[in-house]
């Protein structure tokens, strides 16, 4: 029977072999390991390897191998208990210069990894992962807000031509802004314009003395509360973006309490890398330049900085004086991407501001063409040190001028920041900026690696459910459709293999909902074969010859299978693109499962059927 062309046999054979090869890595379970990375003062080299192995020997902990892997050292162990004591021993021996973290070491053979075959990463629920508890710095929110109100009031008064003595933040946080006017009339006028423009401020007149007529402007408590809620929300969104950039699937990012955020990253055991991305808060500040270069050099030498200015340095240590007033900050930034400056060809970051930021930038550049403007890169990292047995956290803020140039023209919404050293630096900066700046800095106050014991329990249960479900369906199909059922069984089994192969190759993180998706896919994959078998039976009943029945069965069932699966595919696609968390994971599994099952239950079964029945004269069919 030439019903089934040769190239299709070849296709089936190739796909099956590829499926088996790419599903294979999942058989090799990763072993517990301890990863050692260097902090600023440490180096990872042979000497370190020796030190680690000595430390392990001294603590009489048996390791199954220590491996130097580029910038980190990986020591593997037989089981999690050994891993734990090994980690303690290594930590004690190495001290603060190294980060010692739990990790997993892949045992997939080299020949498989060279062809790109890898095992599915497992979700937090299946293998544990990292858990961070972060504290959002609410004080910083209030500080920023009050400073901004002070700046805004100052420019408002200037705009309305109301003469003022001073506009300053009160020394105590949360006490608002103190505005001092020169006369009672000015005070009334000022109070009116401020009240009209900033309804979120509560204004009270202070005691007037001589020519000092103060008003105290305090941010309303409900506005502050709203701010803190928004801060948390923006931080949650920003963290979500950054973690997506990390490539962790199905992270949990949620609010806890008033000012805390929990982040759980499945599969990530390397806390150092995760912390670097999550914990670093980088933002830009655009400030107007102040004075001449000589003044800056003098200020740096003498340490005397003009009251309206701040002294900064660039990477090479050159001093710059910039105004204390910030024109625009990173949280007014909508988008950032790395590019090249069209004139000089040097790496640059293209920046887009939001409307408020654009207006401020436009206002500033309009009045200051030909004057300098500086861009300050602010990065905040929290250092943790153990002093007297207690953890002491000191936030370290690095401020660096990355660009200092003359304003060439008026601009607002879109502009470029040039003067970056390398395309890599530009793209890193763009990534950090685009990830959104955090509305307030976060400190990691708690960090835990979640043990894999629960995961093993879940994996065992999931595996049992998959095998049992599969076995039952295989039995039922063979029982109900006999030979054709057996053929469908073979196809269903291969469907599982190919599904796992594709999920592994694509890098889908396997979670419990994902396993549920696999089980559901197996149950529904048999539907195509049920359709085919029922059709063949119908054709036989209607008096067709066996060969004709097979041909008609496949032909007629195909249209139905296609329609049914395409509609199902639309559903899976929507879940994948619009869902999040378990919904997305489940959607991806379903999506891949529908595609693989269409191939196995139609093409693979057809190939096997053609092989069995093809060259024989048939009187009856076993269906």
């Amino acid at each position: 029977m030439s019903d089934f062309p040769r190239w299709k046999y070849a296709l089936v054979a190739i796909v099956l072999v590829l499926g088996i090869v790419y599903a294979l890595p999942n058989v090799f379970l990763p072993v517990p390991a301890v990863q050692i990375t260097a902090n600023r003062n440490g180096t990872v080299d042979q000497a370190l390897e020796q030190k680690v192995s000595d430390a392990l020997k001294k603590a009489s902990v048996a390791s199954t191998g220590i491996e130097l892997n580029g910038d980190h050292l990986l020591a593997s162990f037989a089981n999690p208990d050994v891993q734990k004591s090994a980690s303690d021993a290594i930590k004690a021996a190495l001290g603060d210069d190294y980060t010692v973290a739990f990790n997993l070491k892949s045992t997939v053979p080299h020949w498989l990894t060279t062809i790109g075959a890898k095992s599915m990463p497992l979700g937090l629920d299946l293998q544990g992962g990292v858990h961070f508890l972060m504290q959002v710095d609410q004080d910083d929110v209030i500080d920023k807000q009050e400073t901004r109100y002070a700046d805004d009031i100052r420019s408002l008064l200037r705009e309305k031509n109301i003469r003022y003595d001073s506009v300053v933040r009160n020394a105590q946080r949360g006490q608002g802004v103190s505005v001092v006017l020169k006369s009672a009339e000015d005070r009334t006028a000022a109070a009116n314009v401020i009240a009209a423009d900033y309804p979120d401020l509560t204004l009270t007149d202070g005691p007037a003395t001589g020519d000092r007529f103060p008003i105290n402007a305090v941010v309303r408590p409900d506005k502050l509360r709203e701010l803190s809620v928004n801060t948390i929300r923006q931080n949650l969104g920003t963290l979500r973006n950054r973690i997506n950039a990390l490539g962790v699937s199905e992270p949990i990012i949620q609010q806890q309490g008033e000012s805390r955020i929990v982040v759980e990253l499945a599969g990530v055991q390397d806390t150092a890398e995760a912390k670097k991305i999550i914990g670093a808060t980088a933002t830009l500040e655009y400030r107007s330049g102040y004075g001449t270069p000589q003044q800056a050099i003098d200020a740096a030498r003498s340490g005397i900085v003009p009251p309206d200015a701040r002294l900064y340095k660039d990477r090479d240590g050159r001093p710059y004086l910039l105004s204390k007033n910030i024109i625009v900050t990173g949280d007014q930034l909508v988008d950032a991407s790395s590019s090249f400056d069209q004139q000089s060809g040097s790496p640059a970051v293209s920046v887009t501001l939001n409307t408020a930021g654009a207006k401020k930038m436009l206002d500033f550049t309009t009045g200051n063409v030909g004057k300098p403007m500086g861009v300050v890169y602010v990065e905040r990292v929290v250092d943790t040190k153990v002093v007297d047995g207690k953890e002491v956290r000191t936030p370290k803020i690095t401020e660096e001028v990355i660009n200092y140039a003359t304003i060439n023209g008026v601009f607002g919404k879109n502009f470029q920041t040039t003067g970056l050293r390398s395309p890599k630096e530009a793209s890193e900066l763009a990534l950090l900026l685009k990830g959104g700046s955090l509305a307030a800095p976060v400190d990691i106050v708690e960090e835990r690696v979640i043990g894999p014991s629960l995961g093993q329990d879940n994996i065992a249960k999931g595996l049992r459910a998959v095998t049992l479900g599969l076995a039952l369906v295989l039995l039922a199909a063979a029982f109900y459709y006999k030979l054709f059922g057996l053929v469908a069984d073979v196809a269903l089994f291969f469907n599982l293999v190919i599904l796992i192969a594709v999920m592994s190759a694509v890098g889908v993180t396997l979670t419990m909902p994902g396993i549920a998706g696999i089980v559901l896919t197996l149950g529904m994959a048999i539907d195509a074969n049920v359709l085919i078998c029922e059709r063949i039976r119908e054709e036989l009943r209607n008096g067709s010859s066996p060969h004709a029945a097979i041909r008609a069965g496949y032909d007629k069932a195909w249209a139905t299978i296609l329609d049914a699966n395409v509609t199902h595919l639309i559903a899976a696609l929507a879940l994948t693109t619009m869902g999040s968390g378990p919904i997305k994971g489940f959607g991806v599994t379903l999506l891949i499962g529908i595609l693989t099952s269409m191939f196995t239950s139609v093409t693979v079964t057809h190939a096997i059927t053609a092989l069995i029945h093809g060259h024989r004269k048939l009187k009856t069919l076993s269906v």
Partner: protein, 321 residues
């Protein structure tokens, strides 16, 4: 082996007033239940209290769960943390029978922590409370609306596909029955007050997928029979379509049901919600494929003319003899 009599010609359409009546009744009841009793949202949606317990000796997660259940806290999420001696417990205040949330409305963290500690110490005296905190919900506002948007897009996408591949009446019938299946499934959750969490939500969306798959098979046969038949009495065609596909409809439901039952009984508590939702959805979806979808088609006035392949006006073809 065959379970079904292939000559059967049950008059499913004959009972359409009755069957669709029941379907509408179920839908209305579901909406009412969801409105009145509301869903028993899980921690994913509501947030709750998170506790970390420290044991002197290694402890099994299952034992902790059992101890909590004995104390009446059935829906607590228990996970092991770090080593074998620390477990994290997350629960909703209302799970704690003594917390009295109903009267005060405000969560008393200390009280709940105290109750849980006492309950656990009754089983294992070495249990100690290490930390306690509130947990926010994993499903933020945006994510919740994303879910609704996803469901709507699914329905519209499917409707559009069916409208193009079949005809608009099929799209309408499919969307109506889909909405019915999803609603009734959620309605049963409202009735039984089973916990509704993120995996259950995923499962409800999967039910929509299953249910549409099921309907399309019947619709496909309807189209085929209409095109083949010389004299097409809609009611008869629809009846024949349901009967012809009946064995497939039920066998597939059984097969899928088997795997979901395996998942329910052996997959562990993490997928209980998923499996039970699918089982309910498969039952509801299968029944609506048989009893509800086709009557809607009939009422919408499906006919042979609607389904004939559209022949394009082709002058080249017209000129040929």
């Amino acid at each position: 082996m065959e379970i079904f009599n292939h000559n059967a010609n049950v008059n499913f359409l004959g009972m359409r007033k009755f069957s669709v009546g029941i379907a509408i009744l179920l839908m209305v009841a579901s909406i009412a239940l969801i409105a009145v009793k509301s869903l028993n949202y899980g921690l994913d949606f509501t947030g709750g209290v998170s506790l970390v317990m420290d044991y002197d000796q290694p402890v099994q997660v299952g034992d902790v769960r059992d101890a909590l259940e004995k104390g009446g806290m059935e829906h607590a999420v228990v996970q092991s943390m770090g080593g074998t001696k620390e477990v994290s417990i997350r629960l909703q205040p209302k799970d704690d029978p003594q917390s009295g949330v109903a009267n005060g409305g405000k969560v008393n963290l200390d009280k709940i922590a105290d109750d849980v500690t006492k309950t656990l110490q009754a089983a294992r005296p070495d249990a100690k409370l290490k930390s306690r905190d509130y947990v926010g919900s994993a499903v933020g506002e945006e994510l919740r609306s994303d879910g609704i948007v996803a469901a709507i897009v699914v329905m519209l996408g499917i409707g559009l596909y069916l409208g193009i591949r079949f005809e608009w009446r099929f799209a309408v019938a499919a969307i109506a029955t889909e909405a019915h299946d999803a609603l009734v499934t959620v309605g049963i959750f409202a009735l039984t007050q089973r916990e509704f969490d993120l995996t259950v939500l995923a499962s409800v969306l999967a039910v929509i997928g299953y249910s549409i798959n099921d309907k399309v098979v019947v619709f496909d046969r309807v189209r085929e029979l209409f095109r083949l038949a010389r004299k097409a009495e809609p009611e008869e065609i629809l009846n024949r379509s349901i009967n012809n596909t009946l064995s497939r409809t039920i066998i597939t439901a059984l097969f899928t049901g088997i795997t979901m039952a395996a998942l329910y009984f052996f997959g562990g508590p993490a997928v209980h919600g998923f499996a039970i939702t699918m089982l309910i959805g498969i039952l509801v979806g299968t029944l609506s494929s048989i009893f509800v979808a086709s009557p809607i088609l009939l009422w919408l006035g499906v006919s042979k003319q609607d389904l004939m392949p559209k022949t394009k006006e082709n002058p080249e073809l017209a000129r040929r003899p």
